[in-house]
Point group: C2
Chain length 360, copies 2
């Protein structure tokens, strides 16, 4: 028995409840519990639970009494208690390297829309491309009984993801793959890149430079391979001097492009592996006194909303980012509901080359 000192009396709508207080937060002392609803409706907590879940039949008259009490007390069940009992939380986590990078909000939106429709909550985690932050998050979320994970991060060493999957958590990768060991939704970056470069070659370009991101990131690696393969197939020699390595929106990139032009490397096209890179390149080209596309054609990657607004409008590759998010979330939720591990499936969605005015 709890002693009187540690009890408090709560009166809600004329019904008196005794509640142990002990050391809980004040804020929650006025939380309406299932017991209170039961008392008010004159039934047992079990019956309230059954009425609300709808899974087990309840007499119509009882049902009405319960629902009336629920409404009058503004009762909503405590998800923590429910989750503790049921061993699931209806929550999924989306791990992204950097939410400020345009690609991820679109994916996040797709994931979120599906999550909401299925009454799942989304936890968004930003790793700052830092593996330790990522590990920290996984550790935290395991404790929290997140039901599953979607990873959009792209570090090469990914044992932690395999381990997570092996320990029983449903995992879906997005925008990247990890062999055929983990479910994934991605695009064929090799092919997208290949197609774009082939298009440049077919339209008469011969000295095609590439602005690429870090080769440690799998998508950039694949795009680079696609670039080289297209050159090879079309019988154009790969030249190292035409490769610029520039990390996203980075002041260094502008001067790298500018200095490439100054050194007389004279490319007739630049294939940039992201739109911001392409836009920076266009600026450097213009500032150097050359014209896009008259002297140099430029192709981007991602079809950001801004890319149709720059001058000239950017030819670029569009990825179905929102759809990737949607499909990944659907897969994950199915896995969670099935409660068993199936053979992983890798879904590859198509990309489009969107031809605008930055190529001739």
């Amino acid at each position: 028995m709890t002693s009187i000192v540690n009890c408090c009396i709560i009166e809600i709508n004329g019904i008196v409840f005794r509640k142990s207080r002990l050391w809980r937060l004040e804020r929650f002392d006025n939380m309406v519990t299932i017991k209170m609803v039961a008392k008010k409706a004159g039934v047992s907590p079990s019956t309230v639970s059954r009425t609300l879940s709808g899974k087990i039949p309840v007499a119509e008259s009882t049902r009405e009494k319960v629902l009336k009490a629920v409404k009058e007390l503004d009762y909503y069940p405590n998800t923590l208690a429910k989750g503790l009992k049921e061993g699931k939380t209806n929550t999924i986590a989306l791990i992204v390297p950097n939410i400020q990078n345009r690609v991820f909000p679109d994916i996040a939106k797709g994931v979120e829309d599906v999550a909401r429709k299925n009454e799942f909550t989304l936890i968004l985690c930003n790793t700052d491309e830092n593996i330790n932050v990522e590990l920290e998050y996984i550790d935290k979320l395991k404790k929290r009984w997140v039901d599953g994970f979607i990873f959009a991060t792209a570090v090469p060493e990914s044992n932690h993801i395999l381990k997570l999957k092996q320990s029983g958590f449903p995992v879906v990768l997005v925008v990247r793959t990890l062999g055929d060991k983990v479910d994934a939704v991605a695009v064929d970056n090799f092919k997208a890149s290949f197609d774009a470069v082939q298009y440049l070659i077919k339209t008469g370009h011969k000295r095609i430079a590439i602005i690429n991101g870090s080769l440690d990131v799998s998508v950039y690696n694949q795009r680079f391979e696609g670039y080289k393969a297209a050159l090879e197939q079309e019988g154009i020699e790969f030249r190292n001097e035409l490769v610029i390595q520039g990390d996203n929106i980075d002041n260094g990139l502008y001067s790298m492009v500018y200095s490439m032009l100054k050194r007389g490397i004279n490319p007739d096209a630049i294939f940039a592996t992201s739109d911001p890179k392409a836009i920076i390149a266009m600026k450097a080209i213009k500032d150097f006194g050359l014209k896009v596309p008259d002297h140099i054609s430029v192709v981007g990657f991602d079809n950001m909303d801004i890319s149709m607004l720059v001058d000239p409008p950017l030819t670029t590759i569009s990825q179905p980012l929102y759809e990737i998010g949607v499909l990944a979330a659907k897969k994950l939720i199915t896995m969670i509901k099935n409660k068993k591990q199936e053979e992983p499936i890798i879904d590859i969605l198509p990309t489009d080359l969107i031809i605008r005015k930055s190529t001739k």
Copy 2:
């Protein structure tokens, strides 16, 4: 007593545990609990808890035994159970109208960085500018015992937010305010707008058009007022024909600007209340055959990373979005930790007018 049928035996590292199985998910049957750690270390669960919390002294020798067992079993406490017991979850929710709008990822990043440092988890919710989705989220998150809310949404009827606050949840608004009733972190949109328009007037512009968003959104309302006030102070008549109402990145806006030029309204400057609007305006101006800034100056709002890359680089107003997120999260977490409602404080952060080449 649970009958044998409903029990299962688990052996971990040579120690045997009996676990009631009943109807829990298979996946969690191999979860390591505090009881298992206690058994392995040869102490009581209380002692394990005390060792890990560190709040209550434990004998050094006991401590070592416990930590060894924790490590060997790879134990991590169940946050749901902890949250249920303690009445808090160390989780905050950020509600944004649209994560795909550039402004919000920056804020989200700020919130998240602070949350992570304080060992809070962030739940991100996207309302699609739909009040019903917002209400749905609030309802869901209350159940989940989220410890507090940050709202970046901007609908005018906001009784639900006041109600949430009154029912005891810490709430901070961001980018908007709700009188002085709720804590908020925002910028002075009126002043930012006033300053920009005044700058245009001082530099010789007389027919200044404005491209504004919906007046239902408080920030656009304030920016519009700032525009009118600057005109008035400088003795320039406000003209309705110079007002364009265009919802963000919307194909309609381009033709609205174009047709304004065609109708001979001839503004000498356009103040756009967001960068995308400004960039669309610049495109319409160019396509019409006029030059920016020679014929028409253009000013944007938000200083998106892209705005320095367009041609000409865009003069715009920069808001400290990341800092807004940081400050809001700090305020919220302080409120949560203090466990009591103080007088609300509205923090107004400064904006900067960044002058580039789109204005003369």
